[in-house]
Symmetry: C2
Subunit: 138 residues, 2 copies
DNA sequence: TTGCGTGCAAAGGTTTTGCATGGCA
DNA sequence: TGCCATGCAAAACCTTTGCACGCAA
């Protein structure tokens, strides 16, 4: 699976530190360089590609954001029994630990002949923090 | 809400004809021009932006696809009671008419304090057609 | 030593912007 | 007529590729 280098270690380390966030390639590039860790953009892209191919990270393309976002695939070890709830206001990603996802998957499989991929699926909406503030926009 | 022009009419018309598909800006550009309707890329982008701002179309950014995809927001008039199931193999979008979505929304609201936006949410997975063919890839 | 990893520069692809012109209301 | 829409060209982004060099195993 390739060599381990200073750069590949630092990228994983950065993802680890930001388990709860979605990071773009450019954000990782900036975080590392601002910490004094010299790394090139190309390297960040190539490492993320490998991590994605090996399903170490998940990749998201969000509306209103032209660049892809990455996040460690198993921040808590059991994402198969999680919802991923993404707040469209503040951008927070919630891993909702809950068996209801299994019910959902089973229902969709039985009634709609469709196998849901819980890893790839993100439910969009508004988190509790943002519910009160919503009409401040516009 | 702006003027109605030949171009804006043709774009809406194209989206209408392709209710069941996701189209990129470039696909719309190519479809129209191949039908002999002269239109510029810039116009397609700007019209889609307006339609998106007015929630006439939905916009998706899919993994493995660098460009955004658009689709009429209300292909059947009742998307609030629909799932949107996107097959990651063949790309088909299924509108699964089903009340289970309401149960899901209520559960997530009660137990996780999160309001799911069924319009924006797409469940990814594998459709029944592709289930049998899956290992042909790779 | 071998061959993968790195990073610069450049290319490729998508989307946005500036500006002069054209067309709707 | 006034103002928005159009479309070309160019810029702005994000991501990938080519290539020479460096470093892990």
């Amino acid at each position: 699976m390739g060599y381990t280098t200073k750069q590949s270690r630092e990228i994983l380390n950065c993802l680890e530190k930001n388990k709860n966030r979605h990071l773009t390639a450019d954000e990782i590039y900036n975080i590392l360089n601002s910490e004094g860790i010299s790394i090139g953009r190309t390297t960040v892209y190539r490492q993320l590609e490998k991590l994605y191919d090996n399903t170490v990270v998940r990749r998201f393309k969000l509306d209103g954001n032209t660049s892809a976002c990455y996040q460690l695939a198993q921040p808590c070890g059991e994402c198969h029994s999680h919802y991923h709830l993404k707040c469209t206001v503040c951008g927070k990603l919630v891993h909702a630990q809950c068996d209801f996802l299994n019910e959902l998957s089973q229902h969709i499989f039985k009634d709609h002949n469709f196998i849901v991929d819980g890893e790839k699926t993100v439910l969009y909406g508004i988190c509790e923090n943002c519910l009160g503030k919503e009409r401040h926009d516009d």
